[in-house]
Amino acid sequence: MRFPEVFDRNEYFIIAVCIFLIIWTFCLKRKFSLSQIFVIFTLNFFLAASLDHILAGPPYDLYDIMDIPDFEIFDFIIYLFIYPLSGYMFLYYFDTWKNKGLPSVHYLLLASLLTVALEWFSNQFHIFVHNEWTYFHSFISYFLIYCLNVCVYFWLKRDYREASID
């Protein structure tokens, strides 16, 4: 993995967001078991690594992450902390929202819009550089990713006590 050529505002932004998300996550009351948290983290780590490889790499090259098109250490930090922690918080508040009897689709749309807004904010710090990618693509992608997370949430809730290891 490459180190950043210049350690500037996008690197500081990533570090600040990581610290903020870690503190926020630790302040939350635990709603999932440790194994479920690992499933959520691995799922979002996988989604970040695979989708960025497919969409941001050649032949499509729809966007670039950070300063250079190569794979930087800060790309890996985003995969390892920002996406998994965001996915965990999305499901944490989804559980809260659902228990209050509010419609899931409203939460999904709201979360997708909020994430697009956060992407716009992070773009002010040159985290992403859009080539042929638009915010509409981002909205659709986040919506589908959150739908997948919700499917996993229901699977986790249903399957937790059903199966047992050998």
């Binding site: 993995m1 490459r2 078991s33 440790l34 194994s35 690992f38 499933v39 691995t42 799922l43 780590f45 996988f46 690594a49 695979s50 490889h53 497919i54 790499g57 050649p58 032949p59 098109p69 190569d70 794979f71 790309d75 890996f76 995969y79 699977w155 399957d159 937790y160 006590r161 199966a163 047992s164 290891i165 050998d166």
Partner: protein, 158 residues
């Protein structure tokens, strides 16, 4: 190349459906976790080896890209999952597990060299030793993550 894409799609479908049989000895969480983790490792290794170091030159055409993506998303994680299934099964003798691990290594290295021979990838600064090292790291990390997660599930008495 198109025929190989069709074979890759068929193999991916077979491996996805066959993974349901691993429920006999693996917890569904283990199946899902290992699949996702192995696939993530493959994408990250590819980023480092192909994109950064350029030790392997990858064709940027659509067909080779999707063949390699299917390999990383379904075929290799699916085969690794079956290896872990053998490890966790009590019906197989240890020598059979060792032989299966050796077979997995040979298959992975051969697959990489086959991709080079058909022009899907092109080795620049790459030897069989690098290949063995790469697959050893992937096997070790997958095995370590799976073992850790299995212990966690046992601790939680799931």
């Amino acid at each position: 190349m198109f025929a190989y894409l069709i074979i890759s799609i068929m193999l991916s479908v077979i491996l996805i459906f066959s993974s349901f049989f691993t429920r006999k000895v693996l917890h569904p969480y283990e199946t899902g976790m290992n699949w996702l983790f192995t696939s993530s490792l493959l994408f990250i290794c590819s980023n480092i080896i192909d994109l950064n170091q350029k030790w392997i030159e990858v064709s940027h055409a659509q067909l080779p890209f999707w063949i390699l993506t299917l390999n990383r998303l379904f075929i290799i994680p699916g085969l690794t999952l079956w290896l872990l299934f053998l490890y966790s099964s009590k019906n197989f003798r240890p020598i059979f597990k060792v032989l299966s691990t050796s077979f997995w290594f040979v298959l992975m290295v051969e697959l990489q060299f086959y991709h080079d021979s058909i022009g899907l990838i092109h080795f620049r600064q790459w030897t069989i030793y690098f290949s063995i090292l790469e697959w050893f790291i992937i096997w070790l990390l997958s095995f370590a993550y799976w073992t850790f997660f299995r212990l966690l599930l046992r601790k939680e008495a799931v």
